[in-house]
Amino acid sequence: MNHFPPFTSRVIPLLTNDIDTDQIIPARFLKATDKSGMGNHLFADWRYNPDGSLNSTFALNKSEYQGSKILLTGNNFGCGSSREHAAWALRGFGIQAVISTSFADIFRANALKNGLLPIIVDAATHRRLRVLVEETPAMELTVDLATSTVTLPGNEAVQFTIDGFSKACLLNGVDELGYLLNFESRIRDYEVRNSS
């Protein structure tokens, strides 16, 4: 069974570089003791006006992007804090893949553990996607993790890079903690070897 089946969606453009996790979810929303409801606070300071109403000029609020599952962002998405709440908020909102030229390390690791696919494309592909979505906001992409491809309008498939282990975990629904627990005897051996 494929735990990360291909999907097709419009693409929300949020093309600022270096979007930090304080923007993805501001710190005042980190006081929760569970993971639920984080989607409501996604990009809270950009998405809502000071009076709490929706900022209609912000991409996530535009009618054409309601229900979209793909975010196209600038370079170095997710820099800053280690808060996994950023991944929970994106997933809670319904985002399944973020496309960028690069991701911050901790964010990327958090995303992969929450069924959120960080798609890294080269600068040329990124520019093309940017132009496509600017020209045709209703443009749709198909993301297929099994083949590591993003399919553009006109059926052109572009390859993206992802390490084999992360890919296998997402596709096979491998839970990393379960995987680690299987090494119990090796961990015990290590502890015996290194106890002084």
Partner: protein
């Protein structure tokens, strides 16, 4: 081999081809914000904490810095803190809790208690875990799922990062400090220059820094995208650790010393990347923008978006200047500020407070500025009070608080109002970081103190020579 290679290799439990390593973790630090969901995960699976004696917790992010005996107003924060207390009790973890005399910011108390030691692997659900690398540990921030992994298995799945040497040669001029070194590095390499790398800071300028100054530098490695930053342990390190609560004692100390002396990078070892900074040329730095890489010399000017290298850089600069309400080409010197914050895991240790106090002594802060001094731990608070620093701060008109993360992350009620400007010794100037709509200029404790006195952004060098 490099320092990083030695520490990494020693902690590999399993390394399968084309898979991340199973890496053993020697010390796991826990705080109230990023741990509740991890403990819930353990409970749901019926798991225990594998090595509670390698796990230590504290409450720092949401803790009020005013009178700690008052009930906490923020219901959610109070619940989160209480949850950590319950989790620690249930899973047998030592907690430096609300009333503990040695509580403080997690990255301040780790080294202070002697928990942080050379050659260790250290993690915490907090990106500024990089701080502990100052003692020659491999220390990095992790997400909450990974917190759960470490609680359950004392291990993490990690891809081997690459190495990046940051060499700083020469001698810092008067008024220039460790914070200026790291802000200058970030201005050079940007906020993603170190992504997927571990920094090792080397060179004569680094060697001559105190432990506390080294922590300031390693702390902000993550602002350059590097998950960890390390400094080879030396006599400065060993002197710092010796005698601390959790430091090895007697024969164990001698054994540890022998091992720690083997850790430094061997001559001829190579790094994947490297950069050199000349300490002689460094000046006090300040950020103008909304990420820590947007730094300029204190005498410099705000850049013009028109001169951005490409469209996206122009756009980013325009967006930044709009948020900060600054003009291209504007000098920051002399700009009035509303708040000065001296604190955070970057700059809240004794040296930082002593530097600020040396400027405040016998002077008054400008009446237009609210000045908050927040020590990094209760131990530092008591030490500062023994040295009379609290009286200097209070007489100068600054607020002297209990320890905690405070206005660095603005989760505890210490926050900027919308539109306010702050000079802050913390680590992040992201939009809204210090309070919704607040605007942050990052700088050293010396620059912050000079600014507090002037009521405007000031060049500390002019005050020292007065």
């Amino acid at each position: 081999m490099t320092l990083f290679d030695k520490v990494w290799n020693r902690h590999i439990v399993v390394q399968k081809p084309d898979s991340p390593a199973v890496l053993y973790i020697d010390l796991h630090l826990v705080h109230e914000v990023t741990s509740p969901q991890a403990f819930s995960g353990l409970r749901a699976r019926g798991l225990k904490v594998r090595r509670p004696e390698k796990t230590f917790a504290t409450i720092d992010h949401s803790i009020p810095t005013l009178d700690p005996s008052l009930p906490i107003q923020d219901r959610l924060a109070a619940k989160q803190m209480q949850q950590l207390e319950e989790n620690c009790r249930e899973f047998g973890i030592q907690l430096f809790g609300m009333k503990h005399p040695k509580r403080g910011i997690v990255h301040v108390i780790g080294p202070e208690l002697g928990l942080t030691q050379p050659g260790m692997t250290i993690v915490c659900g907090d990106s500024h875990t990089s701080t502990h690398g100052a003692l020659g540990a491999l220390a990095f921030g992790i997400g909450t799922s990974e917190v759960e992994h470490v609680l359950a298995t004392q291990c993490l799945l990690q891809h081997r990062p690459k190495t990046f040497e940051v060499k700083v040669e020469g001698k810092l001029a008067s008024g220039v400090s460790a914070k200026d070194i790291i802000l200058a590095l970030l201005a050079r390499i940007g906020v993603s220059g170190g992504t997927s790398h571990v920094f090792e800071y080397t060179g004569s300028a680094i060697r001559s820094l105190s432990m506390e100054e080294r922590m300031t530098i390693c702390n902000m490695s993550i602002e350059g995208g590097a998950r960890a930053g390390m400094i080879a342990p030396d006599d400065t390190t060993f002197e710092y650790i010796s005698g601390r609560d959790f430091a090895p004692k007697a024969r164990a100390w001698e054994t540890s010393l022998t091992q720690w002396r083997q850790l430094p990078t061997q001559q001829g070892a190579t790094f994947d990347k490297s950069i050199t900074l000349n300490a002689d040329e460094l000046v006090p730095m300040i950020t103008y923008g909304t990420n820590p890489g947007m730094g300029i010399p204190i005498t410099g000017c705000v850049p013009d978006p028109a001169q951005g290298r490409d469209g996206s850089e122009k756009l980013a600069l325009e967006k930044t200047l709009k948020y900060m309400d600054l003009q291209p080409g504007e000098s920051l010197l002399g700009k009035p500020v509303d708040v000065v914050f001296i604190g955070s895991c970057t700059n809240s240790r004794m040296t930082d407070l002593q530097q600020a106090a040396s400027l405040f002594k016998g002077r008054k802060v400008a009446p237009s500025v609210r000045v908050l001094v927040v020590p990094g731990s209760q131990t530092i608070k008591r030490q500062a009070e023994r040295e009379g620093l609290d009286r200097i701060f209070k007489q100068a008109g600054a607020e002297w608080r209990e320890s905690g993360c405070s206005m660095c992350i603005a989760m505890n009620g210490d926050e900027l109002e919308p539109g306010q400007y702050a000079v802050s010794t913390s680590n992040r100037n992201f939009e809204g970081r210090q309070g919704k709509g607040g605007r942050t200029f990052l700088a050293s404790p010396l620059t912050a103190a000079a600014t507090a006195l002037a009521g405007r952004i000031a060049d500390v060098r002019t005050m020292i020579s007065e």
